[in-house]
Symmetry: C2
Subunit: 256 residues, 2 copies
Amino acid sequence: LTVLHALKRHLPQESTVYLGDTARVPYGARSAATVVKYSLNNARTLAREAQLKLLVVACNTASAVALPALEEDLAVPVIGVIEPGARAAHRASKGGSIVVLGTQGTVRSGAYPRALASLGRDHGIVTRACPLLVPLVEEGWTEGEIPGLVVRRYLHDLPMDLDTVVMGCTHYPLLRSVLRDALAPHVTLVDGAEATAEEVRALLAKDDALAAPTAHAKHRLLVTDAPEQMARLSPAFLGEVVNASDVELIDVQMTA
Amino acid sequence: LTVLHALKRHLPQESTVYLGDTARVPYGARSAATVVKYSLNNARTLAREAQLKLLVVACNTASAVALPALEEDLAVPVIGVIEPGARAAHRASKGGSIVVLGTQGTVRSGAYPRALASLGRDHGIVTRACPLLVPLVEEGWTEGEIPGLVVRRYLHDLPMDLDTVVMGCTHYPLLRSVLRDALAPHVTLVDGAEATAEEVRALLAKDDALAAPTAHAKHRLLVTDAPEQMARLSPAFLGEVVNASDVELIDVQMTA
């Protein structure tokens, strides 16, 4: 939802269909094989529900392991959140260490170091799994003593020359102020959602596929379970109030 | 796994087949409909994998909402963890308030108050959802400052006359010492796993279905994802070291 939020700010004229696989999240601790299978289920469901011109994999764990399978399976361009985040981190770093915070799956995949290496950045990269941050955010505990202690525990023992921290999970921007407080002022905090939205706009412009500025954008929210929870989280994650009755409950296609 | 641990202690001669739906846990925040569907998938998978004489639903969330559907679907007795836990709490309480800690799904179901009411106990019952406790336990943070603060936050503002706390989730016994420290010494902490194992033994004895004392018990561990994570958690949850190679990866039957 934080990626959708960024997309709607950067591309207000584009219509969107969002699918949250709330019957099977969180993906962060699952095996790569399972995340690939679920991602294919989800993408095929979206392709069935709407005429897509581009798919954004708005989850770091899925982007880390499922991008090749999704690109092979779909007829439209597929953009994950990791490469844009890695490019933003590469631009932000002044040569000091880059720290990537993410789920166990994202860290285990090595996707960020790989993306950074492909940009010519192959030293001073530390990845760290932070499994408690997603449940903390979902509980709504995004400020105060407990998130502060949890974040500091995950950030212990970082390289002295750290200058860039990547929020390598789409939940983490909700902990931005806690992370900010735990880091030295000169450290840049990179939000992959913003970087992804910028790249989506650039890609659509290059392909001459942007919606007309006068287009009336429509937005659909689909979930695989518990629409009321999506509605509950939407003010914090999406920056708007959503009624549960406006969230559609669907079954994913179990084909992968 | 904490329930399996108790069963193996109380019934060392019984063979067991355990299924952990690690591809779809945690169930705590999912809708009742989804938990029922997953529970039926899991039970049918177990019935396919083994000759069952009894099914233990070793999860409070699933016991809270799926017991009637499982009883209707299976030919063998089905025992959940909630009724044994409620009976133990009823025995332990000296008339003061009973507090039940559990997942959102368990609390929302009202299963503990209903079970207590059927025992004649219909006053002084408080249920409280504690969504962060499962991820804390899975991260292995079961002692020290952070779990202490989290537990105290969930236990704030309890009735003054509290005398019994039910650990209404199979993860919570791993936080026993933190919970103990946060409660007055006269408060009884009820572990549903122990109560369930005792009731399983009683039911098998009544049906004359206990394994012979000389039986050579066999134990199988099945998971739907990531056997190595089950192996990693087994010392804390099961009280024994398990090799990932001894954990079987299976697909659940998606029929419900």
